[in-house]
């Protein structure tokens, strides 16, 4: 069935370093992908999205890369800050009449001062 998963459940980085969070998806028909950040006790916060007709998209300190050949997605965070500490989820939109998002299990990003 469809699934979106993450390779690394926990990522620990030093403040100021760059972070890379990876995600694999299985539905080759997926046309839209989103990264969410979730801090403890809060709902997921939209970070950045990418359409399947793109392979890279940049935001403020974040870049998402999409490799459709191997069905892989990554989130790069530049100059990681303590405030970036959170769980990061990738999600795939199933499309059709239902806008169901399929989430992976998440990666915990821990930023060390």
């Amino acid at each position: 069935g469809e699934s979106v998963g993450l390779h690394l459940p926990t990522l620990s980085v030093q403040e100021g370093d760059n972070s890379i969070i990876n995600c694999a998806y299985s539905n080759s028909a997926s046309d839209y992908f989103i990264w969410y950040k979730q801090e403890s006790g809060k709902g997921p916060q939209f970070i950045i999205d990418i359409r399947s007709n793109m392979d890279k998209r940049q935001g403020q300190r974040v870049t998402v890369l999409l490799n459709k050949t191997v069905k892989h997605l990554s989130l790069q965070i530049a100059a990681t800050q303590p405030g970036d500490s959170a769980v990061y989820f990738c999600a795939d939109r199933s499309g059709g009449a239902t806008n169901k998002l399929i989430f992976g299990t998440g990666t915990l990003l821990a930023v060390q001062p």
Binding site: F46, R51, T98
Partner: protein
């Protein structure tokens, strides 16, 4: 510009009881989705509503039901609560467009004892 609001913030119930959770989407959004997030996992899709009609349903038992009102707010109802229903219940407000971006509220933390 108010974001997605959910109430209550926290709720404690006992097995067998029922619960009603509420959500108000972002102004101008006509569609909402509900997700269940068990501790340590990614959110799981429960329902989507658009213009008061159900547009999709996830793999949840009939104890779960929802509705959307003319002002686009929504309620999620869960009957005959089980311990396993303890979770963070998230409402997402959907911006209709090509990719229907979803913006999450803070969630309602339900604990079933």
């Amino acid at each position: 510009d108010a974001g997605v609001t959910q109430s209550p913030t926290h709720l404690i119930k006992t097995r067998g009881q029922h619960v009603t959770l509420r959500c108000s989407p972002i102004s101008g959004h006509k569609s909402v989705s509900w997700y269940q997030q068990v501790l340590g996992q990614g959110p799981q899709f429960i329902f989507q509503y658009y213009e008061k009609e159900e547009r999709g349903r996830g793999n949840f038992p009939d104890r779960f039901s929802a509705r959307q009102f003319p002002n686009y707010s929504s309620e999620l109802n869960v009957n005959a609560l089980l311990l396993g229903d303890s979770a963070l219940y998230l409402c997402a407000s959907i911006r209709q467009g090509t990719y229907n971006e979803q913006f999450f509220g803070p969630g309602t933390r339900l604990t079933v004892l």
